[in-house]
Amino acid sequence: MTAAYVTEPGAAPARAAVRSEDGTSPRERDTERRTVTAPDLITVHDLKMHFPVTEGALVPRVVAHVKAVDGISFTIRKGETLGLVGESGCGKTTTGRCILRLELATAGEILFDGNNLIELDRKSMNALRQKIQVIFQDPYSSLNPRMKIGEIIAEPMQVHRTEPDRAARAARVTELLRLCGLDPKFADRYPHEMSGGQRQRVGIARALSVRPEFIICDEAISALDVSIQAQIINLLEDLRDEFNLTYLFIAHDLSVVRHLCHRVAVMYLGKIVELAECDELYNNPMHPYTQALLAAVPVPDPEVERRRAHQIVKGEVPSPMNPPSGCVFHPRCRLAVEDCARAVPEFRELRLGHWVACSVI
């Protein structure tokens, strides 16, 4: 690094992270070390996704924009899991879709392996798609009901020619099903013959089929039953370790994010309001929104609950079509001062690797 040392907003800390006080498992330390030394895999810089709202059926005219994602930046290192949390409609999914280029971002850049995904032509993008996979929230609608499980898993291999011949594909399907904890005989079943948890395993197997480097898990577990969620979380963890996968883990269950992620970004109304190492964020939340979010999560222990202070944030998330001026959180913020309504807070690195967008603290 030379004199022009300017960290990207939201970038991973350059040196070893502040350790949490409590004991961490050997495995966790291991991954942490890897994170520190690993190169950046994906860098999102000032990403904006504004959906035009049109009127007029004949000659559509743009009357407004839904600012689903409004200038966010972060970096994910190889082997790292970044959690993305926030309330419904804050733009988590849209961020993921922009990276997958299911939506063409309005502005900003997404660097993956040195390529800016936003500017890539269709052909080179398709080649890259093999490395970026996705697991969706709804296990019921993310599998084509008219295809057999085997076909679903084999199709990406066929298209990307990672496994050009049929027999090899079949063998790999068996292997993948096993890997995801399913009986290989499932290969010639249809999705509707399976339970939600099983389907989610199929979704994971499909994502793994072309040996990706980066997987976007968009609420991959929130549609599942509590008793099944843990199975899938463990599976995701195991696979990450085994194949050195990088995850963008989108969720709104804060306890799951805490369990699974190395770093966490908190989004609110199209912006990242806080980004930090996982333990740092949970132990020392700085942004008032993050604090409220954490306070709102009930803990399954009556004793603890009785002792906890219940700080409840007022109001609801405004529409991204006309977000509040200044700091988007100020109408609901308990710390808000007059200036918050005017000045857009800077996304600052308040501590090493701990970025916050709040001008009050």
Partner: protein
């Protein structure tokens, strides 16, 4: 103190082409006045159906209450005529449903939907009903209630709709409110608002509350007593304290262990409940959790009764000792 609601061996089955779904298969519990009872359990275990059965709202066909009794203030709701049960619905017992987005009629104003209950049960005039509706909306924390009355559900956000649903439930000063996953569809911050509101209102008006949920955290915060359901049966019942600190049924235990917890240090690995939820059409006579249970023994092939394992603490398991033992060892 008299029991407000006594449910005894309630059985509700669905007769479908795939076979008989024993959605609720002999559950019994009581609710005292002003008490908050939680029912937890995984998806499809019969929580909603048991709640709907209380007001005889299960779609018939295919569903039917095939056995048991539900006594509300001593009257068996299952024996009432259609008119009599209508009088109970909304007046004595009110319900709040899971999906605030679809549970309100999109083509009627909020006001209309609120006042029609008042007019039906309390025979209020239009003006009286409107006044009461405004009062109720204010109560559940909706600003400018008079103006809001004339609006339609689509003008309201999810959280506000759920507030309206609560206002609607409170309309006729019911003795009991059954809330079926009232916050599942909402964001955490909104969820907290709604729960706090419900807790507050039920306390203030002394309304008993049955909350159905699968979020163990919510239960811990609000419930006096907890019933854990599995495959159409209550498998454990007790105070929140019992359930969280002294679970006697392997399923309860497994459920508690499987969720990552914010109040504890990060675990290396989660401890999931193995296997898949049971198919309610193909239950054999034995304990339904047996195939997924780490404590299963041969005796589990016969149905364990829901027996007391402590004061006000019931569990349906042959191996409660072993379970308790394992708990001791673990801690």
């Amino acid at each position: 103190m008299t029991k407000l609601l006594e449910i005894e061996s309630l059985q509700t089955h669905f007769f479908t082409s795939a076979g008989v779904v024993r959605a609720v298969d002999g559950i019994s519990y009581d609710v005292d006045e002003g008490e908050t009872i939680a029912i937890v359990g995984e998806s499809g275990c019969g929580k909603s159906v048991s709640a709907l059965s209380v007001l005889r709202l299960v779609a018939d066909p295919p569903g039917r209450v095939v056995g048991g009794s539900i006594r509300f203030k001593g009257r068996d709701l299952l024996q009432l005529s259609e008119e009599e049960i209508r009088d109970v619905r909304g007046k004595d017992i009110a319900m709040v449903f899971q999906e605030p987005m679809t549970s309100l009629n999109p083509v009627l104003t909020i006001g209309r939907q609120l006042t029609e209950t008042l007019q039906q049960h309390l025979h209020m005039s239009r003006e009286q009903a409107d006044a009461r509706a405004i009062e109720l909306l204010g109560l559940v924390g909706i600003a400018e209630p008079a103006r809001r009355l004339k609006q339609y559900p689509h003008h309201f956000s999810g959280g506000m709709r759920q507030r309206v649903m609560i206002a609607m439930a409170l309309c006729c000063n019911p003795k009991l409110i059954i809330a079926d996953e009232p916050t599942t569809a909402l964001d955490v911050t909104i969820q907290a608002q709604i729960l706090e509101l419900m807790k507050d209102l039920t306390r203030r008006f002394g309304v008993a509350l049955i909350v159905i949920t699968h979020n163990l955290g919510i239960v811990a915060r609000y419930a006096d007593r907890v019933n854990v359901m599995y495959a159409g049966k209550i498998i454990e019942s007790g105070t929140a304290q019992h359930i969280y600190h002294d679970p006697q049924h392997p399923y309860t235990l497994a459920l508690l262990r499987s969720v990552p917890r914010m109040d504890r240090p990060r675990q290396a690995r989660l401890d999931p409940v193995q296997g898949q939820p049971p198919d309610l059409t193909r239950l054999d006579g034995g304990c339904a959790f047996r195939p997924r249970c780490g404590f299963a023994v041969s005796r589990c092939a016969s149905l364990p009764p829901l027996d007391g394992v402590g004061a006000g603490h019931l569990a349906a398991c042959w191996e409660t000792e072993t379970v308790a033992g394992s708990l001791q060892r673990a801690s």
